[in-house]
């Protein structure tokens, strides 16, 4: 297992795309943070407010969507490119215990995704500091440690889903595209179409559920009274949201493990 981990480390660090992805994980979040940040409300010459103050959470958190996409590129390539170029046959000749290879890949993908997320957060943090946000931030309004942990883990989970999908289909493009297209487009359309008729379906859409991890349940918000609106329906948020995604990920991973262990290399 230790040798297959070393093999994976050498594999991932000796291709250009990894370093390009890392550079993008620095530059794109910096650019997004610069565009999205606004330390103070913006007023016109007449004193009318024309721009909202963007808090730390938004300024740092928004770029993580891009980071998740970059992580999915590295994750999908970790398995998809091996099949594309036939390198998987060299890998499995050297390491015939396939489960060791798969576990090593999962660990390296998770670690690489976490590194990308941390780099992204640090880059966005630096931009916000340069833009005039107070440092250290006002912790009354700035994100707590849980925000950063959720951010990093969300990127890791997104990356693992891309890895599993690329592994099941042996296609890098599927691993990259499905989470993006499903999470950002298809699931929104499905949720809008089914509306209240099949609310349960909208509730279990995977990447939307993952995005709700950071949301606070309505019941925990001051002044909320469910009796005021009998039709009120809240999809799984917080741990419920990540729980829904975890079930999806478990299904993807189970299929991926079966495929990797049972099919021809």
């Amino acid at each position: 297992m230790a040798h297959s981990l070393t093999y994976e480390r050498v594999r991932i660090t000796t291709v250009r795309s990894t370093w390009i992805s890392l550079a993008l994980a620095v530059l794109l979040p910096m650019a997004l943070a610069a565009l999205a940040s606004s330390p103070n409300p913006v007023y016109d010459e007449q004193g009318n407010q024309i721009g909202e103050q963007i808090d730390w959470t938004q300024g740092i958190g928004a770029p993580l969507v891009i980071t998740a996409v970059i992580a999915s590129v590295i994750a999908a390539q970790a398995i998809g490119q091996e099949y594309r170029f036939g390198v998987i046959r060299l890998t499995l000749t050297a390491f015939p215990r396939r489960i060791d290879v798969l576990l090593s890949k999962i660990l390296v993908v998770a670690a690489a995704s976490a590194v990308l997320a941390l780099v992204s957060l640090a880059s966005a943090w630096a931009v916000l500091a340069l833009r005039g946000y107070p440092t250290p931030p006002d912790y009354a309004v700035a994100p707590d440690a849980g925000f950063y942990i959720r951010g990093v883990l969300s990127v890791v989970l997104w990356g693992l889903s891309a890895f599993a999908l690329a592994g099941i289909t042996r296609q890098t493009a599927v691993g990259i595209a499905v989470p993006i297209i499903s999470g950002l487009i298809v699931e929104q359309i499905v949720a809008a179409l089914v509306g209240s008729r099949a609310q349960w379906l909208a509730d279990i859409l995977p990447w939307s559920a993952l995005a709700r991890w950071g949301q606070t349940p309505a019941a925990a918000q001051p002044g909320f009274d469910p009796a005021m609106d009998p039709t009120f329906h809240e999809p799984p948020v917080g741990w419920g949201g990540v729980g829904v995604f975890a079930v999806w990920l478990a299904v993807f991973m189970a299929l991926q493990i079966w495929s990797f262990l049972r099919r021809d290399a």
Binding site: H3, S4, T6, Y7, V10, R11, T14, V15, R16, S17, Q81, F85, G86, V87, R89, L90, L92, T93, A94, F95, P96, R97, R262, R263, D264, A265
Partner: protein
């Protein structure tokens, strides 16, 4: 180390690509692996390595590959010239393969020099020619100095000098007590390189014997005798139970490899002999004869 393939089998839908194949590879010699296109040679090699799922098993000194460590010290395989990431440099490609057996960096450079790729070690192999790609594949296979080499068509794309180098290298590698199992369509090359043959057709074993024995099975092995009295000698040979075909005005092709028998018969018949020579089939002729009708993908023939 002996390599024992036991009951290897593999189906693709209704097609039985490899069917109950069993053979043993011995150290100290190059074993050639022959078969027409689609005979199942590559599938067999993948089954041996556990890359394809199928029936049977392969034992490497009595144990499966999963039970061996480090595996790259046991077997080195070269299954396809293009099995590399095009943007990972040749040196890094080998560095990656070196991790399982903890092969030192010095050995990576040594192998690159050995296969003649030291000058392009830092280059990305995406632009390599087929011959260079073959050399990189071979470098990966021999990196950890394994006891067994499995090579699928390693001579494809190599120039004549490189083929000669490959032949010498593999013979030398085998003579050091290693198992070398190599498939090739270059039968003339195989004739020079291999001492033992495993021949398959339509997934089934046709021959597992020495090259000499395989060639001897061909009906194209005969004796040519040129004589002063063709008719008399023909009668004498036929009376001995030998099949005879006339060749030219004074020649007979006798279906035997025993020149003494033909010479004695001519002597007893009292006919003069101008030429008496044994003609041996080439590996190519023997292979074509013994696998005729077993081609999976035969051409339609000329018009």
């Amino acid at each position: 180390m002996d390599v024992e393939a036991i009951g290897l089998g593999k189906s693709y839908g209704d097609v039985r690509a490899v069917d109950d194949l069993a053979f043993t590879l011995r150290p100290g010699m190059v074993t050639g692996f022959l078969g027409p296109n689609g005979a199942g040679k590559s599938t067999t090699m993948r089954l041996m390595l556990g890359l394809d799922r199928g029936d049977g098993r392969t034992l490497w000194d009595g144990r499966t590959l999963v039970e061996q460590a480090p595996v790259t010290k046991v077997v080195g395989a070269h299954l396809d010239a293009r099995f590399f990431h095009p943007s990972r440099t040749a040196r890094n490609h080998l560095r990656m393969l070196a991790t399982e057996a903890k092969v030192p960096q010095q050995r990576v450079d040594e192998v690159l020099t050995l296969v003649g790729l030291d000058s392009v070690a830092g280059k990305r192999p995406g632009g390599f020619s087929l011959g260079m790609a073959q050399r990189l594949g071979l470098a990966g296979a021999i990196l950890a100095e394994p006891q067994v080499l499995l090579l699928d068509e390693p001579a494809n794309g190599l120039d004549p000098q490189s083929i000669q180098w490959l032949r010498d290298f593999l013979r030398h590698y085998a003579q050091q007590g290693n198992v070398v199992f190599v498939s090739s369509h270059l039968l003339s090359e195989m004739q020079l390189m291999a001492e033992h043959l495993v021949v398959i057709a339509k997934g089934r074993l046709v021959a597992d014997e020495t090259l000499e024995a395989f060639v001897a099975r061909s009906t194209r092995n005969d004796v040519l005798v040129r004589t002063t009295d063709v008719a008399a000698l023909e009668t004498a040979l036929v009376s001995q139970g030998l099949a005879v075909v006339r060749e030219g005005d004074d020649g007979l092709a006798v279906a035997t490899s025993d020149t003494d028998l033909v010479g004695d018969t001519a002597f007893r018949a009292g006919v003069g002999v101008r030429e008496l020579s044994r003609r041996s089939a080439s590996l190519e002729e023997a292979f074509l004869e013994l696998t005729s009708g077993d081609q999976q993908y035969a051409t339609g023939g000329g018009q």
